[in-house]
């Protein structure tokens, strides 16, 4: 059996099953949808075993040079606590694991987000608006004013009336342009995926049909 052709046919059939939803909901779509959910779940479980549990837990607990690091039993116990949620009698133990994930996640994200999303963005906005040509100056002013007025719009502790309201209105305008641009970009990203699937069907799958039927090369 030619594994390459089998792979192409599997991909093509599943692609067509999923696209059949464009007509309406039907058994072919439901089949592919359920298969996708199951296989994706299986993929992520194996991914976490291979990329997280093996290198970050098992190999730390049992190093290659021998020995046993008992300290790595602790995350194993917390992981079991997380799984305890499926047994109603001991489901409360999962709160310990949740507490640990939430605490560590909050600690990491608090400083991480502040550094990368707040400070770095503020730093990037502190620019010389008078550098470059006329168009650069206009662009820089729009950038700085856009960030400041956008932030005023998101500041809900003060009523959006008077000067605050007018500034917030400028912010909404900039945000609408930004959301429009992001939306257009997202649509085009999806369209490029669609083109990719169509190219697969036309240039990879269709040429295999004559080969299978023994017609042509």
């Amino acid at each position: 059996m030619n594994w390459e052709i089998l792979g192409i046919w599997l991909g093509a059939m599943l692609t067509l099953c999923l696209y059949s939803f464009l007509y309406r909901d039907n058994p072919f779509y439901k089949f592919a949808e359920h298969l996708f959910v199951g296989m994706s779940a299986g993929y992520w479980v194996i991914y976490s075993i291979e990329n997280v549990l093996k290198p970050n837990w098992w190999q730390q607990m049992f190093p290659e040079d021998g020995g046993f690091n008992w300290i790595w039993i602790i995350p194993g116990i917390f992981a079991l606590f997380m799984l305890a949620r499926i047994i109603p009698k001991i489901a409360g133990l999962s709160r310990m694991a949740l507490g640990m994930i939430i605490g560590a996640g909050a600690g990491v994200n608090m400083v991480g987000f502040f550094q990368t999303n707040a400070m770095a963005q503020v730093k990037g906005t502190i620019i010389s608006v008078s550098s470059g040509g006329a168009w650069d100056i206009i662009s820089n002013i729009i950038l700085v004013v856009g960030v400041i007025t956008g932030l005023v719009y998101f500041f809900f502790s003060k009523a959006h009336t008077g000067i605050v309201g007018k500034t917030a209105n400028v912010g909404i305008t900039i945000l609408m342009v930004a959301f429009g641009a992001s939306f257009g970009y997202t649509i085009m990203a999806r369209i490029s995926l669609l083109i990719g699937r169509c190219q697969f069907l036309i240039f990879d799958w269709i040429p295999t049909i004559p080969r299978l039927l023994g017609i042509g090369g």
Binding site: G103, A118, A178
Partner: protein
């Protein structure tokens, strides 16, 4: 104890991670480095929990013959096939797990996302009616970016790709920056509420 213990764990782990950022010395460094790995290990257990729950839901659907139960075996078999091949053959290239991923999971994932192109376009058609000048601005901005991405945009007017680049680098950056700074403030305040036990909805219930 049901509440105090998880809240104490949240406080201790949260404070260690915050201190780890500001105090890169022992013993905080060792604790922080280890805790980051522990976090990943416990979080991956959540993936296992999700998979177990998925199986539980579908076995229950089959048992009680709930709506669309006939498709549940497909999910169970799909999961089992990926799981077993991954465990037996490993995840290296040119192995059965890789074959299944490249020829089944990846095509289905791209097809699912490409399907969104149709739904987003039809949603946009309904939502982006130029009802007021701001909606018109949003519509125009999206239209220019879409035209600027494809060759026909440059064929209509050679300045359209430049307008697209300007829209993406100036107004879009300004808007995204405002959103990011605002979101970062939200993350900081929510994280502080969680670390200090003010926000406890993640523990479930109201106690």
């Amino acid at each position: 104890m049901r509440l105090i213990l998880p809240l104490s764990i949240t406080f201790i782990t949260g404070m260690i991670m915050v201190l780890h950022f500001f105090v890169p010395h022992q013993p905080i460094k060792l604790l922080g480095d280890n805790l980051q790995e522990w976090y990943m290990i416990v979080a991956s257990a959540a993936i296992f929990l999700g998979a177990l729950n998925l199986m539980h839901v579908h076995f229950r659907k089959i048992k009680l013959k709930l709506k669309n139960w006939k498709y549940s075996p497909v999910t169970i078999i799909g999961f089992s096939v990926m799981f077993v091949t991954g465990l037996i053959y490993g995840v290296t290239e040119a192995r059965p797990f890789d074959f299944l991923f490249m020829n089944m999971v990846a095509p289905m994932a791209s097809t699912m996302f490409s399907l969104l192109a149709f739904f987003v376009a039809s949603a946009a058609f309904r939502a982006f009616r130029a009802s007021n000048w701001r909606a018109t601005l949003l519509l125009t901005s999206a239209f220019i970016v879409m035209l600027g991405q494809v060759p026909i945009g440059a064929m209509i007017w050679d300045k359209i790709p430049l307008a697209k680049v300007w829209l993406m680098t100036i107004p879009n950056t300004a808007g995204q920056r405002a959103v990011m700074i605002g979101a970062a403030m939200g993350v900081v305040s929510t994280s502080l509420r969680m670390i200090f036990g003010i926000e406890r909805s993640y523990l479930g219930g109201t106690d």
